[in-house]
């Protein structure tokens, strides 16, 4: 269960606050969507959950399964089950995709007290998971994300998620840059990971993704705060009316 309590966040070494008191609870098994206008702080929230040190928490707390994660480094949060699917996945020239995946997976397994996978075991697992996402294993022999199209990079993020089996999945605008087919493949991949043990936070601009990844709750984030929450119908409402009513609200 994820509990975000009165979270205030600013950019490290700057004055301007970005998140001004976020309260949000996501129980295991639930999928919540966060929508909102540009500059509202959606991506900031995603990055703060993953532990990026460019952002500073000035007040409030983030509890994952009852434990505060604020003092945990990004790799510790990953070991605790947090996964952030990047809006702009990074290219790592010179590091083969398979090497990267194996290093990450075995690092997590070590931290969780599990045995590392042997190479044949690992390859079997990767072949299985990448086939489901329509990713050719040959692509994974190339350096991470190098030369990948936008859609391929997003599918590669979901592959990482499928392999690392996180319990809190934060998807930061996963639908940006995707065509209809890629959107379907990515959504299917995400839906395949829905489970009673997993909490998901889907950050998106557009309602369209939420037709495929149907949320249990929808929140509108604007001016650093959650302005409104509701069921999945809220997304359809926003589609009609836009974010105009939120841009007039005081910060």
């Amino acid at each position: 269960m994820l509990e975000i309590k009165n979270l205030h966040v600013k950019i490290t070494e700057e004055e301007k606050p970005i998140l001004k008191g976020i309260d949000l609870t996501i129980a295991k098994g639930e999928v919540h969507a966060i929508m909102g206008p540009n500059g509202s702080g959606k991506s900031t929230l995603a990055h703060v959950l993953a532990g990026r040190d460019d952002y500073e928490v000035t007040e409030g707390d983030i509890l994952w399964n009852g434990e505060s994660i604020l003092e945990m480094a990004p790799d510790e949060r990953a070991a605790a089950g947090v996964f952030l699917a990047f809006q702009y996945p990074m290219e790592i020239p010179g590091v083969a995709g398979l090497t990267f995946l194996r290093t990450a997976l075995n690092a997590l397994r070590r931290k969780r007290g599990q045995e590392e996978l042997t190479t044949p075991e690992f390859m079997k697992l990767v072949k299985e998971k990448s086939a489901a996402l329509n990713i050719d294993i040959e692509m994974l022999k190339r350096p991470v994300n190098v030369g990948f199209s936008g859609g391929e990079k997003k599918r590669s993020e979901i592959l990482q998620m499928a392999l690392l089996e996180p319990t809190l999945c934060v998807l930061d605008e996963t639908d940006s840059g995707l065509d209809i087919d890629a959107l379907r493949i990515v959504s299917d991949g995400v839906n395949a990971l829905r489970s009673p043990d997993r909490a998901m936070l889907v950050i998106t601009h557009y309602q369209r993704l939420l037709n495929h990844i149907v949320p249990d709750k929808v929140h509108v984030l604007a001016h650093g705060k959650i302005q409104r929450s509701g069921g999945k119908e809220l997304a359809l409402e926003l589609e009609q009316s836009g974010y105009a009513e939120f841009s007039e609200k005081a910060a």
Partner: protein, 443 residues
């Protein structure tokens, strides 16, 4: 250059030592004469200092505090098993091995059988026979403005004199292993003279390594002259991977390339405290391809200088240079890349790139590209960068559960990988990466 210049302790020591050891240095009377002239030349020039442009970043006169005792006729005990240990990752390769310990050829530690197409003799024997041509002395003395090379000529004890026969394709790389061993610090001067015949194909590895337990300090002065015949193909790799604490490595490669040759040279420098790698290339024939790459790794107060001079004296040749340095603590990396394109060298295609990766705010990378272009129909470009580890990439790796030290290792490997990949032979490239990984893991 006035001879009345104040001499440093090291300069005086080097000059004095020569008088004591010259009779024990191998060579016929003619060779002794060449040595004497070289010693006089060194006495005249002294160690290079920062007011000489080519040495502005590496002031040897102030960096070299003393001359270590010269090693002649070394008799350090060593077994083949020791050599395997010293060679580290290179031991795994199938090679034709010639071994020198503390500057002396050790036949019993070298590969027993012949390698088809390869003629080898130790320099010491060649010098004693008086065959100056084979010893490359005649051509080397033409470069008499270089104090480091003069020291090498004066003091060289041994090395590999190699001929790859015309048309031969060596089935294994030649590994010239220079092993430093024994508890006494010393000064070693070695020289290799390599002649690759026309249309031949050869892979040559030079290794400068040490046995665990070797003295922490040491000074090595190495020179390799290599002449590549028309249409020949050469892969030439140097691994200077000593593991002391106070090791000086001064190295000269002098390369002459014939027509339509394909020469790829690579240098790895790590574990040494003070290094100056000089590479001089002269093109003697057209349509030749030159590739020079390297990786240098520094920590503590290490100072690693790589200085290239590539002289396009004929048309239609291609040259590529890629050097990458990883610098931690207060270490310093230097890259000087001079490319000369003479007036007749039309259709020259030259590219140079040097990159430094700083792991600490006190590390420093100096890069001096120097292009002197006198022809007007050429394509020449150069670039130099200096960066830190990409924080976004580090975060990406860590967010996937990769701890920061492993993430760092991955990113550094990826940085140097681009240069190591230039070594066409995969097993050799992998051995080089393993050396580097060994250095990285000693943080």
């Amino acid at each position: 250059m006035s001879v009345a210049v104040m001499k440093t302790k090291a300069e005086l020591s080097f000059a004095e030592s020569f008088d004591h050891v010259q009779d024990r240095l191998p060579g016929s009377p003619a060779v002794k004469q060449v040595r004497r002239s070289a010693a006089d030349k060194f006495a005249e020039l002294g160690l290079p200092h920062r007011r000489i442009e080519e040495w502005k970043y590496t002031d040897l006169r102030s960096a070299v505090k003393d001359a270590l005792p010269v090693r002649v006729g070394d008799a350090t005990q060593m077994t083949i098993a020791d050599v395997i240990v010293a060679l580290g990752p290179l031991a795994k390769l199938e090679t034709y091995r010639v071994v020198f310990v503390n500057g002396r050829y050790r036949k019993e530690l070298s590969s027993p059988d012949q390698l088809a197409g390869l003629e080898f003799e130790d320099l010491s024997s060649v010098l004693s026979s008086g065959d100056e041509n084979a010893a490359g002395l005649a051509s080397l003395t033409a470069r008499d403005d270089d104090a480091v090379l003069s020291l090498n000529t004066a003091y060289m004890t041994d090395g590999a004199v190699v001929r790859v026969q015309a048309g031969a394709e060596l089935v294994k790389p030649l590994l010239i292993a220079h092993v430093r061993a024994g508890g006494e610090p010393g000064f070693i001067a070695v020289r290799n003279v390599i002649d690759v015949g026309a249309k031949a194909s050869a892979q040559i590895i030079e290794a400068f390594v040490s046995l665990p337990g070797a003295a922490k300090e040491g000074q090595a002065n190495a020179a390799t002259q290599i002449t590549v015949g028309d249409e020949a193909k050469v892969v030439h790799v140097k691994c200077a991977a000593d593991t002391g604490d106070g090791i000086t490595h001064l190295s000269n490669w002098m390369i002459r390339l014939g027509r339509e040759t394909d020469y790829a040279g690579f240098q790895l420098t790590q574990g040494v405290s003070l290094a100056r790698n000089q590479i001089f290339v002269a093109f003697d024939g057209e349509d030749t391809k030159l590739d020079l790459s390297g990786v240098f790794l520094g920590r503590g107060r290490d100072h690693i200088d790589t200085t290239l001079v590539v002289d396009h004296a004929v048309p239609s040749c291609e040259s590529r240079e890629l050097f990458k340095g990883v610098l931690d603590d207060q270490s310093r990396g230097v890259f000087q890349g001079k490319i000369i394109v003479q007036q007749i060298a039309q259709k020259t295609d030259g590219k140079q790139m040097s990159q430094g990766l700083l792991l600490s705010p006190d590390a420093e990378f100096d890069s001096k590209p120097e292009l002197e272009i006198f022809a007007d129909d050429v394509a020449c470009g150069h670039g130099a960068t200096c960066t830190e580890l990409d924080k976004d990439l580090m975060f990406y790796c860590e967010s996937r559960g990769i701890p920061s030290d492993i993430a760092r290792g991955l990113l550094i490997e990826s940085f140097i990988g681009e240069a190591v990949e230039k070594i066409e032979d995969e097993p050799i490239a992998e051995a080089v990466m393993e050396f580097a990984r060994g250095w990285l893991s000693k943080t």
